[in-house]
């Protein structure tokens, strides 16, 4: 069985992984049923783009805007801190992409 992802609303342009994927085919379920190919490793609970998203375009999940694309995101790409930013929270853009740990607090 291919790794799975769950899309909440038909108008969403991202879906949430419910398995880990190394690369290759991902089975979308929920509000859409299709197969998407990814060339990236995407972890369980993270988001995969189900459509091409242009720079500054709204990223839609739960049918609502959850922020904007900071670069062009192709269908099948991992969507996270490196290409999606909050419209309100500036600090989250500075966090480590993989661990989420802050990079702006000094430990010395």
């Amino acid at each position: 069985m291919n790794p799975r992802a769950f899309q909440i609303q038909p108008q969403d342009n991202v879906a949430t992984m419910i398995d880990d994927v190394q690369s290759g085919a991902v089975e979308i379920s929920g509000a859409a049923r299709e197969e998407i190919s990814t060339s990236e490793k995407i972890s369980h609970s993270h988001k995969i783009a189900v459509r091409d998203i242009a720079v500054n375009e709204a990223v839609i999940k739960f049918g609502v805007r959850i922020g904007h694309a900071t670069q062009a995101i192709p269908r099948g790409a991992w969507v996270h801190l490196h290409n999606l930013a909050s419209d309100l929270d500036e600090r989250s853009g500075t966090l480590d992409l993989h661990s989420g740990a802050p990079t702006d607090t000094v430990y010395e």
Binding site: G67, S86, G100, A101
Partner: protein, 402 residues
């Protein structure tokens, strides 16, 4: 009322409210009395501890502790102070006695130090426990329950499965005449219109807009939104995304209004608790500094049970009201099964429908209400957090029958 709905035996308090546990609460009034308070409770069954660390008192903290001291699950109170601090253990005991509960207090300096205070505390405890063992038992149903919900350690599954299952349960609780309370207005960021569209009436609509605006301004001012490194590592990217997921715990019923910390819901139905500080010259730190603080706030609304939704896994519990752990992440459920009460992740893999999962959660809540311990309760988790804060609030007698 639907005859198929469950009933069980609860503990009747003098104010008419009903508890699902019959506890003695030990309250310390300064950090200097913390060790003695915990030593008094150590090894005792059904004795929980809360306390306030500061020497300078704080109206918010006193109000919160008084609401917890007169919680439906609490039968009696022992308040212990060092003897120097502003917060007065004697006054706490006095207010608790007025609620019809036995309560005592003493200062460690008067008792003559650590060992004598522990011995005196244990002797008082045995007396209080004997008194409350005779409290009247009465039938209880979902209509007598207030259930709170908090989420923490959220990941991408929380908004997809964990919180929606709580939402399905909250709909059932509200339909049965119960009270459902959820908080974290700082995790409703970006949802102003959605929030207002759920208001039961015009007054609730106004309250919700005001609570939302306060939360958004607060986060901007302190430059910290309510998302943790673990949330990001768990696949959540923005506060707007986390908020939509968190809000799913509110189910689909109308929101009756907004209450503040230590206030009880003003009637049955679904309520939002606002724990964000109001403007004050001290400009108290962060709202929701950790999960235990939010859980305390929910318990202070009279919640006899609190649901805790976690995607990544959490090992906290709570004093006074049992905490039920729900995860939408099957991997987390399996990895931390000792701590997890409910696997909502089955909704995502299609093993169970959302409605059936809500029904199963209702059955679990009923079993816990009947006396079965939740996993954090069984493991002995009793974390609490009472902080300095300011909220503009009505007087306790007006706003809270806690």
């Amino acid at each position: 009322m639907n005859k198929n709905l469950p009933t069980w035996e609860g503990f009747l308090r003098a104010d008419g409210r009903k508890g699902i546990r019959n506890l003695v609460l030990v309250i310390y009034t300064v950090e200097c009395a913390q060790f003695v308070a915990h030593a008094i409770a150590h090894g005792e069954t059904d004795v929980h501890v809360i306390g306030f660390p500061g020497c300078y008192d704080n109206q918010y903290a006193v109000r919160l502790m008084l609401a917890l001291a007169r919680h439906p699950n609490v039968g009696a109170v022992l308040s212990v102070g060092l003897g120097c601090e502003y917060t007065q253990p004697g006054k706490i005991a006095e207010v608790v006695r007025k609620s019809g509960r036995p309560a005592e207090s003493f200062f460690i300096q008067d008792a003559g130090g650590t060992s004598k205070s522990i011995a005196r505390g244990k002797e008082i405890l045995s007396r209080l426990r004997k008194e409350i063992s005779e409290v009247k038992r009465v039938p209880m149903s979902l209509a007598d329950l207030t259930v709170g919900c908090e989420c923490g350690g959220s990941d991408g599954t929380s908004g997809l499965a964990g919180n929606p299952v709580v939402g399905a349960f909250f709909d059932r609780l509200v339909d049965a005449g119960g009270r459902a309370v959820f908080e974290e207005t700082v995790e409703m960021i970006g949802l102003r219109n959605i929030l207002q569209s759920r208001a039961a009436n015009e007054a609730a609509r106004t309250e919700l807009a005001a609570a939302y605006d306060k939360a958004e301004n607060y986060c901007k001012q302190v430059r910290q939104f309510s998302a943790s490194p673990g949330n990001f590592a768990g696949g959540l990217t923005t506060i707007e995304e986390k908020s939509m997921g968190a809000f799913a715990k509110g189910g689909s019923r109308p929101i009756q209004g907004v209450i503040k910390v230590a206030e009880a819901p003003r009637g049955p139905g679904l309520w939002i608790l606002d724990s964000v500080p109001d403007a004050h010259f001290m400009q108290f730190g962060y709202t929701n500094p950790n999960d235990s603080e939010g859980i305390m706030d929910l318990i202070s609304s009279g919640a006899q049970i609190v649901l805790f939704v976690t995607g990544r896994g959490s090992v906290i519990g709570s004093p006074i009201a049992p905490l039920i752990k729900i995860t939408g992440n099957t991997q987390t459920y399996q990895r931390m099964i000792e701590d997890m009460d409910f696997n909502a992740g089955r909704v995502l893999t299609g093993e169970i429908s959302l409605a059936d999962a809500g029904e199963e959660l209702l059955a679990l809540v009923t079993r816990i209400a009947k006396g079965e311990p939740a996993k954090p309760e069984l493991l002995g988790h009793r974390e609490y957090f009472v902080m300095y804060k300011h909220q503009d609030t009505p007087s306790l007698t007006a706003g809270c029958r806690a």
